[in-house]
């Protein structure tokens, strides 16, 4: 069945880019909220951001950037017919994604035990700007983390396809589009990092 179908790799690339446009607008809603509340409460945002752990945030930035690089190399590897190398690189990407989420977990955990989370009695004592800052922090990094998780799952499938011969030198648009998605997730973080960690 599959071989009889016409394959239009350009169409799937169009589809992926359109999907990324929708993702930009999805995150756009959150960035809009951030900018409005930041301009409304500049001082409280400034001081609340000091609660963030700059070291962990920077390490996570490095991890995601490296993982994006690995995905890019894994696509080049498939183009040269070296599926084995590509699969290894993709697996590393999945592990780097997991490392990113683990670090994120510790960051969240450290705040939650101190009573900094939406609706917590301690946070409710603080100023409105602080509440909004941490509300945005959890929502934006949380939804971004969800995207990282989805990306890891999709890349795991790509590892399987690369090894099973579904992805080949001639037909690698699946992997290429997955790469686009992963870069997008990376780029969102590139914006989240300064907004939450570097603004103090």
């Amino acid at each position: 069945m599959e071989n009889l179908e016409e394959r239009d790799t350009l169409a799937s690339k169009y589809g992926m880019w359109f999907f990324l446009f929708t993702e930009i607008l999805f995150f756009g809603g959150m960035f809009l909220l951030y900018s409005i509340y930041r301009s409304k409460f500049p001082h409280e945002f400034h001081s609340a951001a000091q609660e963030e752990n700059l070291v962990l945030g920077s390490v996570n930035t490095a991890i995601l950037l490296t993982s994006s690089l690995l995905v890019a190399i894994s696509i080049s590897a498939v183009k040269k017919g070296r599926n084995g190398v590509s699969a290894v690189l993709q697996t590393c990407t999945v592990f780097l994604g997991a490392a990113f989420l683990a670090i994120k977990y510790f960051e969240w955990h450290e705040k939650i035990v101190r009573g900094i989370y939406p609706n917590a009695p301690q946070l409710d004592q603080m100023s409105n700007g602080t509440k909004l800052f941490f509300g945005l922090y959890y929502v934006m990094t949380g939804i971004h983390g969800l995207h990282v998780l989805i990306g890891m799952i999709v890349i795991s499938f790509m590892v399987y396809f690369t090894l099973s011969g579904n992805i080949t030198v001639r037909n690698f648009s699946k992997l290429e589009n997955t790469g686009l998605y992963w870069h997008f997730v990376d780029i969102v973080w590139i914006y989240l990092y300064p907004l939450f960690y570097l603004v103090t």
């Binding site: 239009d8 359109f18 959890y138």
Partner: protein, 530 residues
């Protein structure tokens, strides 16, 4: 071309690898998916109409038939079903799915499996919304707009309903994505952009609006759910949040969404008028460009929903100005349709009657839109029935009548059966009379100050409400005749020829109903098609 339906197996008989109900649910055939969507949206339309009739019933004698709380839930569920389950998916998913690939000369959409996936997501979303209505806790009573902070605090199943709408949004986005890619990649040889049928143009514009507006609604609804579940207070003033911001985000989507509803409707009218006027469409390029114009300008007018919500005078003046601007491309379309009919030899069949009444009703809806788009009248009329009247003239008189136009125009092609003309025309006339009695009365009620959404009212508005309710009964009778006639035709209709109306686009060059994968060989467009 003569009817050659007997020589080719139609897609109804070519079931593929699955059988029975699975041959439908698991099908990737755009025609089967389109028909399933059609069945769903017609069902939800009729449910929505029934709820609407109940709302009207309550209003002739408030308190007799239901309590105020039930009334609030009723108009909310009426809105949620009509907007999110019927009219937003509406024309694109049913007629776009069925006809876009055929009109482009393609065998299917660009991503057939994604298409089937959107149908499942739609079913999931519909199920979630049905649960929110039926589960204990109570149906939503927020209105279809889910305004914060009420929607965050209220006990009813708002979280579930909002989540259902979020799920439906996915279906909408992916359908738009699929159509835009299809139009880019799968046009037949010879079909350049400016030789495409206008319906394809409007679906193209709609697809972009679906992709670029729906995500904003998605994230806004997530904020509501997060507010309800985790107490995140983005729209809660006690936590520093701003409820007006919810309105901004909501209308950033929901105004463009109006064009998701109306653009494909305009496309259908642009197909039907030339065929029955026996005259090529006047100003093809202007009609095509104005679809894009509406989609683009439509992005920047959301503020006119919020003139009375608290906004600076400067922003209000700007939003009002852009609102007037967006009327220009709509006006271009109206004038072009009328010019198309000029000196044509018009055939008064039922699809044409529905199409012409679309022009009439949509013009009333559009022009009253200018009245409430101006700042001073808006302050007086915004909270009144004037808005309800305007909204229904645009939505029901626009998108709703376009659905009926499309049903009567494409019915022979989709089902291979002809319906009887006479009952269709009688049904149309009754519907048209009922419609105007029902909704035009609302303009007068609203102008005299009757507030919308109210359960009860002072006696001086009683006559108006009674007239309007009588209109709703007449309208319901019209709809019953129309649908009974079509359902009868499904079983007892005569066999339809391949081209009953003399249309020029590709769908009329293949048998009725079309065979699996539409064309034996890739068609080539030789003349300019329209």
């Amino acid at each position: 071309m003569e009817n050659n339906g007997s020589r080719e197996v139609s897609f109804y008989h070519d079931t593929g690898k699955h059988h029975g109900i699975l041959a439908w649910l698991l099908s990737t055939d755009h025609k089967r998916i389109g028909l399933q969507y059609l069945a769903a949206i017609v069902l939800f339309f009729l449910v929505g109409v029934s709820l609407g009739v109940l709302i009207r019933l309550s209003l002739i004698s408030p308190g007799t038939f239901m309590g105020a709380e039930t009334y609030n839930r009723l108009f909310s569920v009426h809105g949620i079903i009509m907007i999110f389950l019927f009219i937003i998916p509406g024309l694109p998913v049913a007629f776009g799915n069925f006809f876009l690939p055929i009109m482009l000369g393609a065998r299917d959409v660009a991503f057939p499996r994604l298409n089937r996936f959107t149908w499942w997501i739609y079913l999931t979303g519909a199920t979630i919304i049905a649960l929110s209505v039926l589960l204990p806790g109570g149906a939503p009573d927020t209105g279809w707009t889910f305004y914060a902070p009420y929607s965050i605090e209220v006990k009813a199943n708002v979280g579930l309903a909002v989540f259902g709408v979020f799920v439906l949004g996915f279906s909408s986005i992916l359908t738009g994505l699929n159509f835009v890619t299809t139009i880019h990649r799968l046009r037949a040889p010879g079909m350049t952009w400016f030789r495409m049928p206008i319906f394809a143009w409007t679906l193209y514009a709609t697809g972009w609006v679906q992709m670029l507006a729906t995500p904003v609604l998605a994230i806004t609804l997530i904020f509501i759910v997060l507010g309800r579940v985790f107490g995140v207070g983005f729209f809660d003033p006690s936590k520093g949040g701003d409820p007006i911001l919810y309105e901004h985000l909501f209308w950033t989507y929901s105004h463009p969404a109006v064009y998701i509803m109306v653009l494909p409707a305009m496309g259908i009218i642009s197909e039907v008028i030339p065929v029955f006027a026996r005259h090529r469409i006047f100003g093809y390029k202007a009609v095509a460009y104005s679809a894009l114009g509406i989609a683009i300008v439509g992005y920047f007018v959301w503020g006119h929903h919020m003139f009375t919500s608290g906004m600076s005078d400067t922003s209000r003046a700007i939003f009002s100005f852009i609102t007037f601007l967006v009327a220009v491309p709509s006006g271009i379309k109206i004038f072009n349709w009328v010019s198309t009919m000029y000196k044509g030899s018009i055939v008064m069949n039922s699809p044409f009657l529905f199409a012409v009444s679309f022009i009439f009703l949509f013009s009333i809806g559009g022009l009253t839109g200018l009245i409430i788009g101006s700042l001073a009248p808006n302050l007086h009329l915004h909270g009144t029935y004037f808005i309800v009247g305007h909204f229904h003239y645009v939505m029901f008189g626009g998108a709703g009548f376009a659905l009926l136009t499309a049903l009567h125009y494409w019915f022979p092609k989709m089902f291979g059966k002809m319906y009887s003309e006479r009952p269709a025309k009688i049904g149309w006339l009754i519907l048209f009379i009922g419609f105007n009695l029902l909704y035009f009365t609302m303009f007068i009620l609203g102008y005299n100050g009757m507030p919308r959404r109210y359960f009860d009212y002072p006696p001086r508005y009683h006559t108006g409400h009674v007239l309007s309710t009588i209109g709703s009964w007449i309208l319901a009778v019209g709809l019953i005749i129309i649908f009974a006639n079509l359902i009868r035709a499904l079983f007892k209709g005569e066999k339809a020829p391949s081209n009953p109306w003399g249309g020029g686009s590709f769908e009329w060059q293949i048998p009725s109903p079309p065979p699996h994968e539409n064309f034996k060989e890739r068609p080539v467009l030789k003349d300019n098609g329209h």
